[in-house]
Symmetry: D2
Subunit: 118 residues, 4 copies
Amino acid sequence: MSVMLSDLSHAVLAFRDERDWEQFHGLKHLIVSLCLEANEILELAQWKSDAEVDALPLSFEGREALSDECADVLAYLLLIADKAHIDLGIALHRKLIKNAQKYPVEKSHGRREKYLLL
Amino acid sequence: MSVMLSDLSHAVLAFRDERDWEQFHGLKHLIVSLCLEANEILELAQWKSDAEVDALPLSFEGREALSDECADVLAYLLLIADKAHIDLGIALHRKLIKNAQKYPVEKSHGRREKYLLL
Amino acid sequence: MSVMLSDLSHAVLAFRDERDWEQFHGLKHLIVSLCLEANEILELAQWKSDAEVDALPLSFEGREALSDECADVLAYLLLIADKAHIDLGIALHRKLIKNAQKYPVEKSHGRREKYLLL
Amino acid sequence: MSVMLSDLSHAVLAFRDERDWEQFHGLKHLIVSLCLEANEILELAQWKSDAEVDALPLSFEGREALSDECADVLAYLLLIADKAHIDLGIALHRKLIKNAQKYPVEKSHGRREKYLLL
């Protein structure tokens, strides 16, 4: 994880531009694709119990599949961020500050109902 | 975007651990939550035309909403990666190499049917 | 569409029971599968403009694909309803009454912002 | 469930037409909305164990919430079917025949891996 977010963004944008694909990347299309990729991660968990999903990354195949689908979600997230001029690092820090106000430590410690990292 | 992925990961994990929430973070729960957050981005595009979605980041409210939902997706992606011992930077580079083999530049340049960044 | 909802439910439950699959049909598993099937419909619309999606049912292949995915969503909806002892016909009528209160005709006629069939 | 699918369809279309909302119901919009509603069902299962989700319909509030979200999914499914000229009853029967060929009883009895009602 010792890589700059901007380096990952450049790699994805270079991949897109070498193929002249930006013309297909309307923001709504990217958002739909992000959802489809998130669901491909969910598909890896289909019909599996919580314990079976926890064990998924323990096999080589399971972790590779999970790794590939996570990469796809990240790729679309970077494409969306580029299109919308969002700095994902700043976005995350701002959101964590909002969440910290919504879920103060003293009220939400160890409590699932207070929880929900939304 | 000039931030290390590992710094973002640490921030999210610290938020989680201050609240003692890891106990709720089974991998399947995180995956379901990632999907729900991806759908919250999609909800911002509901009933809007492609052009209206492209214009979403041009308003302050639209960009803030998009930024917050993207941050949530990134947060869950980082939590999943931590749980599954996946390095998202390596995962993305490996996936781009796979995609480059699947969609060689000479065959997929400017072609939507060859495309699909899956 | 001149078929009873109960007949469709019986057909899906018979299919399940002939294969002794109820043992796998925890409610959460069915809900996850419903989402995955809904996303398979969305996948048919990926990278397509609004007009291209409107034209999808005009081709034999497009309509067959859409028909199959809609059938899958309906199948899981019927399985969920059976498991949760929900009568989908009553559920729909009750929900339309709630929606009618939320979106009275005089306030929501022709207005998209008032709208959202949620 | 002793109601004709066509009666439910008429009820949903009447609700739509009283509000003059068909103008907003491009097929892609309906598909996106179907996915969002499916995810609202999933949201009821977020952070809950399999057993907790199985118990959801046992409380009045849980069953009412589930019933409402299932109704929304059915409403959009009926709107999509109307727009695409799909008879959902025929679609389901055709799909079950396809699935029966894909998952013959003798090979898939009690076996999860052969399973997947897709």
